[in-house]
C-alpha cells in the first residue's frame, strides 16, 4: 500500500486533517458523523480525557478542566504567556518555566505540546479509520509569525502523537498552495486570515514556484468570538434583565450560541429575529446594525494590514490578489472592506475553514514525490553545534540556515596522549553548553596517542530536508569514524525528552491492526445491539420473513468475524449488516415520525376533508 502523507491544520479553535486522493482531489477527512472540523479542545475529568466535540460539551461542567486555545501557549515560557493565561478559564501553572495545565485526576500536568499531541492523535486516528491504513507522516501548519521554539514545540506535539512531522509550513503559504498559486502564477499575494480568536495577515511573494513570506502582522486576540460578544452586549443594552440572567454560565453560553447563529444568518440575510421566550426577550438584528457593531474590528484588521504593507515597503498596488482564510471572512462586511481596501481580486472560492488544511495536503503530496512544480524552502529553527573545552558551545550550523545543510569543522585533543573525544551535540543560541539543549552524546575512540592539539578530528553536521541531523566524527590519520542520527525537538526539559521519546516509541510501535480490531468490535457490538432490539420490536407487516432470515444470517457472519482477529473483516461484515438493515431502519423511522406527528399535529381544514 502506498504511504500517505497527511496535511494537518492545528488551529487555535479548530483542527483538520486532509490528504490528496489518487485522483488528484484534495479531501478534508470527516469524522464518523461527517464533521470535518475538530474543536481544538481537550477535557480532563475523573472519568477520562476527551478530545474535540465531546470535550467542548463539557465547557460548563465544574468537575472538568476544559482546555481550549492551547496553541496560544505552545512553545512559549510561562512568563511569555501571561497575557494569554488571563484570557482562559482553566488553571495554568509554572512547570519548570513552561506553562502546564494540571490534570489532578491523573496526577500530572499537561504541557502545551502534550495537549497538541492529544488533538493530533485524534486526527491521526480519524485519518487511519477513513483511509484504512496506518498514517505516520504529516505536514503541520503554523502561523507565519511562530518563532523557532513555537515551531519546534509543534513538531514535538507531532512526535508525541506518534506522527513524524516531515515539515512545518506557514498557514498563509498553505492557503496559497490550496489555490494552486505557484504553478505558473507569480506575484505578491496578501493572505487575510480571520479566525475565531486570532487575526493574521501576511504578504507572500511567489516566484516560479518558490514561496517567501515577506511580512506578517496581526492581532492574537481578534476574531469571530469578538463579534459574538459585541452582539450579546447589544442585547444587554436592549434588555437589562437579560444582562442579569447572563450571570449564570449556562445562560451566557446559550446567548453566545444564539449570537453566533444570528451572525451566521446575517451573512446571507439582511435581518434576523431573535427570540428567547424564557427570558422574555425578543429583538430584531439587522445586517446594517451588525456592520456598525463590527466596524471597530474591521478598522483594527486594516491597521494591521497597513503596518504589514509599510514594513515590507509595498503598497496595495503591488498586491496581485487577496486570499481569504478563516470562517470569519465569510462575513460580508469583511469581504467588502478588504475588497475596497486592496481593489484587487479576492480568492474566496475554497471554504475558508478548510483552505489551510487543503494546502498542507498539497505540500504533503509534494513530499510524497508526486509533483515537482512547487518547492517550499525551509530553515533550521535553532542553531546546532557541539560542546568544546570549557563547556563552551561551538556552533556549526547557525539558526535560520536553509536545509539541507552541511558543515564541517576540525577539532583536536586537549590532553597529551588523549585517545578518545566526547562529542556532545547541542541545540540552542546560548554561549554555554549547559544552557543549551543536549541532543546527543557519543564518543570517538581509538585516536592515536599524540601530544595535545595534534590530532585532527573532523566533525560533520548534515541536516536533511526534513531537519534530521546526522553528526559524524572522523579522525583523519586513522580514518576512525563514529556517528549519531538525531531528530531534534524542543519545548520540554531534558528528562522529559527522554521519557517522552520512550513514550513516543511506544506510540510508534502501537499496533495499528490491534487498534483497528478494537474499534471495529465496538462498532459491531453497537450495530448488533440495535439490530437485535429492532428485530424484537417489528412484526411481519414491516419486515417480511425472507428479510428477517437474511438479516439473522448476516448477524451470524458478523458474530463469527468478531470472534476472530481480523479488524478489517469485522468492519466489512458490520457494514454488510448495516446495509441490510437500512430499509428496516427507514421504515421504523417513518413509523415513529408519523406516530409522533399523529399525536401533535393539528389537522388543517383540507386534511380533515381528505
Amino acid at each position: 500500500m502506498k504511504k500517505i502523507v497527511v496535511g494537518i491544520d492545528l488551529g487555535t479553535t479548530h483542527s483538520l486533517v486532509a490528504y490528496r486522493r489518487e485522483d488528484g482531489h484534495v479531501e478534508v477527512i470527516p469524522d464518523r458523523d461527517g464533521r470535518v472540523l475538530l474543536p481544538s479542545v481537550v477535557a480532563l475529568s475523573k472519568d477520562g480525557v476527551r478530545v474535540g466535540w465531546s470535550a467542548r460539551e463539557r465547557i460548563n461542567d465544574p468537575e472538568t478542566t476544559v482546555i481550549y486555545a492551547a496553541k496560544r501557549l505552545m512553545g512559549r515560557s510561562f512568563e511569555e504567556t501571561e497575557n494569554d493565561r488571563s484570557h482562559v478559564s482553566y488553571p495554568v501553572v509554572d512547570w519548570n518555566g513552561s506553562p502546564a495545565i494540571p490534570d489532578p485526576s491523573r496526577n500530572r500536568a499537561l504541557t502545551p505540546p502534550e495537549v497538541g499531541a492529544l488533538i493530533l492523535k485524534e486526527l491521526r486516528t480519524r485519518a487511519e479509520e477513513a483511509l484504512g491504513q496506518s498514517v505516520s507522516d504529516a505536514v503541520v501548519t503554523v502561523p507565519a509569525y511562530f518563532n523557532d521554539g513555537q515551531r519546534q514545540a509543534t513538531k514535538d506535539a507531532g512526535t508525541l502523537a506518534g506522527l513524524n512531522v516531515l515539515r512545518i509550513i506557514n498557514e498563509p503559504t498553505a492557503a496559497a498552495l490550496a489555490y494552486g498559486l505557484g504553478s505558473g502564477k507569480d506575484g505578491l499575494f496578501a493572505v487575510f486570515d480571520l479566525g475565531g480568536g486570532t487575526f493574521d495577515f501576511s504578504l507572500l511573494d511567489i516566484r516560479k514556484g518558490i514561496f517567501e513570506v515577506r511580512a506578517t502582522n496581526g492581532d492574537t486576540h481578534l476574531g469571530g468570538e469578538d463579534f459574538d460578544r459585541a452582539i450579546t452586549e447589544e442585547w444587554f443594552r436592549i434588555s437589562p434583565k437579560l444582562a442579569s440572567l447572563a450571570k449564570r454560565p449556562e445562560v451566557r453560553d446559550l446567548l453566545r450560541k444564539e449570537a453566533e447563529r444570528a451572525k451566521i444568518a446575517l451573512s446571507s440575510k439582511t435581518k434576523v429575529e431573535v427570540a428567547l421566550p424564557a427570558a422574555g426577550f425578543r429583538s430584531t438584528l439587522t445586517r446594517d446594525r451588525l456592520n456598525e457593531l463590527v466596524a471597530p474590528f474591521v478598522e483594527r484588521t486594516l491597521a494591521c494590514v497597513r503596518n504589514a504593507l509599510s514594513d515590507s515597503g509595498s503598497t496595495t498596488g503591488d498586491v496581485d490578489g487577496v486570499i481569504l482564510v478563516g470562517g470569519s471572512t465569510r462575513f460580508p462586511r469583511f469581504k467588502e472592506a478588504v475588497g475596497t481596501f486592496f481593489g484587487k481580486p479576492l480568492f474566496d472560492t475554497v471554504d475558508p475553514d478548510l483552505v489551510v488544511a487543503e494546502g498542507a495536503a498539497v505540500q504533503a503530496d509534494i513530499l510524497s514525490g508526486r509533483r515537482k512544480d512547487l518547492l517550499l524552502l525551509d530553515v533550521t529553527p535553532l542553531s546546532l553545534g557541539i560542546e568544546t573545552i570549557g563547556g563552551v558551545t561551538s556552533t556549526l550550523i547557525p539558526r535560520n540556515t536553509t536545509v539541507p545543510a552541511q558543515a564541517k569543522e576540525l577539532f583536536t585533543t586537549y590532553v597529551d596522549g588523549q585517545t578518545n573525544v566526547d562529542i556532545h551535540v547541542l541545540q540552542g543560541e546560548r554561549e554555554m553548553a549547559k544552557d543549551n539543549r543536549s541532543l546527543a552524546r557519543f564518543t570517538l575512540a581509538g585516536i592515536p596517542p599524540l601530544p595535545a592539539g595534534t590530532p585532527r578530528i573532523e566533525v560533520t553536521f548534515q541536516i536533511d530536508a526534513n531537519g534530521i541531523l546526522e553528526v559524524t566524527a572522523r579522525e583523519q590519520t586513522t580514518g576512525k569514524t563514529s556517528n549519531v542520527v538525531i531528530h531534534p525537538s524542543y519545548g520540554l526539559g531534558k528528562e522529559d525528552v527522554r521519557d517522552l521519546l520512550k513514550e513516543a516509541f511506544a506510540h510508534v510501535q502501537e499496533d495499528f491492526a490491534t487498534r483497528l480490531l478494537a474499534d471495529a468490535r465496538t462498532e459491531a457490538q453497537t450495530v448488533l445491539n440495535a439490530t437485535l432490539r429492532a428485530l424484537g420490536r417489528v412484526k411481519e407487516d414491516i419486515l417480511p420473513e425472507t428479510d428477517r432470515t437474511a438479516i439473522l444470517h448476516q448477524v451470524d457472519l458478523m458474530k463469527a468475524a468478531m470472534e476472530g482477529t481480523d479488524g478489517r473483516k469485522v468492519r466489512d461484515e458490520t457494514q454488510a449488516l448495516d446495509k441490510l438493515t437500512q430499509p428496516l431502519a427507514e421504515r421504523l423511522m417513518n413509523q415513529s415520525i408519523s406516530n409522533a406527528l399523529a399525536g401533535m399535529a393539528l389537522p388543517k381544514e383540507d386534511d380533515t376533508n381528505a
Binding site: R207, K208, G209, I210, I366, L367, S368, G369, K372, L375, L376, L377, I386, E387, T388, I389, G390, G391, S394, T401, T402, V403, P404, A405, Q406, A407, K408, E409, L410, F411, T412, T413, Y414, V415, Q418, N420, V421, D422, I423, H424, T443, A452, G453, R456, I457, E458, V459, T460, Q462, D464, A465
Partner: protein
C-alpha cells in the same frame, strides 16, 4: 566542568564542505557519457555530483565577480534549488538522493555565502588566490589600524559607563558605516582589474590586500559593537 575528553577547537584550519567526491566528474556516473560540468546528464537526465573543483560561483552558475546583482543571485539560487532540492527527488534511487542531499547543501551554502556582501568578499579573496575557502582566516592588521581600534575601545569604555550605550553605539556606527561604503565602492574597481589585468595582476593583489584589511577591521568593530550592546 569540561571533561578531559571534550573536543577542542582547532584555532586554524576550519574547513568547508567540498563537493561529493565523484570517481570521475567528467563522465556521467550512470550512463558514462562525457560531461562538461552539467548539473544534469543530457543523455540519461540523472543529476550529477558537483566535482571538487566547483567553487560557489560555478555551483550557482554565476560569473566570479565581486559585484553581484541580488536579483540574479536569487534567481540562480532558485533554479539550482529546483534542480537539486531533495523534495523533488523523494522517489529517486538512494544514489540520486545522496547526490541531491550533498549538492543541495552546497547550493544553500554557496547562496548563504555569496548573498552577504562581506562574506562574499572574504570568499572572493580566497577564490582569486586559488586557496580553499576559509572564512575564518584572519588578515594581519597593520599596527596603525590596531592602535586605532585600541584607542576606540578605551573611548567606548568611557562612553558606555553611563546608563545608556546609545552614545557608544553611535560612535561605532559612525566608523563602521563609511568603512562599509568603502568596501562596497571597491567591488567594481576590483572586478574591472580582474577583467582587464587578469588574476595575477599586481594592482589586483594590492586592491585585494586592502579589501582584506578593511574586512578584518570591520569584523573587529562589529565585535566591539556587540560587546557594547551586551553591556547595556
Amino acid at each position: 566542568m569540561p571533561k578531559t575528553g571534550a573536543a577542542t577547537n582547532r584555532p586554524e584550519g576550519t574547513s568547508l564542505p567540498t563537493g561529493t567526491r565523484a570517481n570521475d566528474p567528467s563522465v556521467c556516473w550512470n550512463c558514462e557519457k562525457t560531461l562538461a560540468d552539467e548539473d544534469v546528464c543530457p543523455s540519461c537526465v540523472k543529476v550529477q555530483p558537483f566535482g571538487q573543483e566547483r567553487d560557489y560561483y560555478s555551483i550557482l552558475g554565476l560569473p566570479g565577480r565581486l559585484a553581484l546583482d541580488p536579483t540574479l543571485l536569487v534567481s540562480a539560487y532558485h533554479e539550482k534549488s529546483r534542480t537539486f532540492h531533495p523534495d523533488h527527488h523523494v522517489e529517486d534511487s538512494e544514489k540520486v538522493q545522496s547526490i541531491t542531499l550533498s549538492n543541495a547543501s552546497l547550493v544553500n551554502l554557496a547562496f548563504r555565502t555569496l548573498r552577504d556582501p562581506f562574506q562574499r568578499a572574504q570568499y572572493f579573496i580566497g577564490h582569486i588566490k586559488g586557496e580553499p575557502a576559509r572564512p575564518n582566516r584572519k588578515a594581519t592588521l597593520p599596527p596603525h589600524v590596531l592602535m586605532e581600534i585600541m584607542e576606540l575601545k578605551e573611548e567606548l569604555e568611557v562612553l558606555s559607563s553611563g546608563k545608556s550605550s546609545e552614545k557608544a553605539e553611535q560612535r561605532i556606527r559612525a566608523i563602521i558605516e563609511p568603512l562599509e561604503q568603502e568596501i562596497f565602492n571597491s567591488f567594481s574597481t576590483i572586478d574591472s582589474l580582474l577583467e582587464h589585468e587578469g588574476p595575477s595582476s599586481q594592482n589586483l593583489s594590492q586592491a585585494l590586500g586592502l579589501l582584506s584589511e578593511r574586512l578584518e577591521k570591520r569584523s573587529y568593530l562589529q565585535n566591539l559593537f556587540r560587546e557594547v550592546k551586551e553591556i547595556s
